[in-house]
Amino acid sequence: MSVSYQAIFWNRQKKIYDVTIVAGVVLYLAAFAGVGALLHPDATAETLLIRGLGTLALLMLHIILAIGPVCRLDPRFLPLLYNRRHLGVAMFTITLSHGVFSLVQFHSGGDVNPLVSLLSSNQRIDSLTHFPFQQLGFFALIIFFLMAATSHDFWLHTLSPRVWKTLHMGVYIAYALVFAHVCLGALQSELSPILPAILALGLATITTLHLLAARKESAVDRMQLNAAAEGFLDAGAIDSISEKCARVVTLGSERVAIFRYDGKVSAVSNVCRHQNGPLGEGKIVDGCITCPWHGYQYIPETGASPPPFPEKVETYRTRVANGRVWIHPQAHPPGTRIEPAVIA
């Protein structure tokens, strides 16, 4: 839980994650360039490497974009999410290699500066088939660079979570730019139907995953709680909440996690202050609500992190009556102590 700019420490899980990424990269490039050289002996090595690096980066981007919705649909995939930014930085490295290699191959050694050549050699913005596709890739690379450079939690706090998240939503702009870069570039020269088919399959996969996750989450968003009494709402049977676990309910537009522990009930905002992880999907460990994403902890009665950590979440009043849990929709400021409801 460090936000100062310290060097990254590798634990065993991160090492396995990173070694797997490197293995995937090596396997891909060996297969693409190696088999490519055998099947197409006239293809120059630079062509195979540029294409190998570019297609690999796009495959990695699809995997990265799939992780979010897949984890929403099945929490067993969460280990893929924990170090997703390692995949992101690796993907940026491959993209940068593709970009630099292409810049050197196609624009250097000539009569103008390579970057000037990149931005001026093709002026056919009036045409779709002749559109300057390399610039689209260049702008996507800039977005990926900004994301990779700010991938450490230090930037999350320095820029503020809202600004940081807005910057990182740029991944969708980058994805669209890369998609266009391929459509208006490689697909204009390469005629095999397999290539647009694979691109379409990639798009269909991540779109479907996102829409499925959206549908699942919408059900929670549309949840309406019945009124109980005295302004409280009925949040369900107490027996439906497992010990040390939570039920997540929607109040207005935000979600609240109602935890059951040690014969008591407390409710806090479902949104972890670290990176908005779903607290209600975590458990109570050592007396603290523990976020399933990165392990940030909060004391259930106050919504405050145990000292010395500063994070705090909103708290809510609860009651237990006739075997039902009641919750009052009024959010109390982060860190407000609320007496837990006792289960009779």
Binding site: T129, F179, L203
Partner: protein, 44 residues
């Protein structure tokens, strides 16, 4: 994920799901053959 972020994702993916297939179809439709046959050219 917070509600505003869920909303943004819904909008983003609806737009991408509509726009990108159109772009793919359009880019395939505009492909041209830059070396068509020249019927009057006979070379050994």
């Amino acid at each position: 994920m917070t509600a505003p972020l869920r909303r943004t994702h819904r909008v983003v993916w609806t737009v991408l799901a509509l726009l990108l297939p159109l772009l793919l179809a359009a880019s395939l439709a505009v492909r041209t053959d830059s070396t068509p046959i020249n019927r009057e050219l006979h070379l050994p």
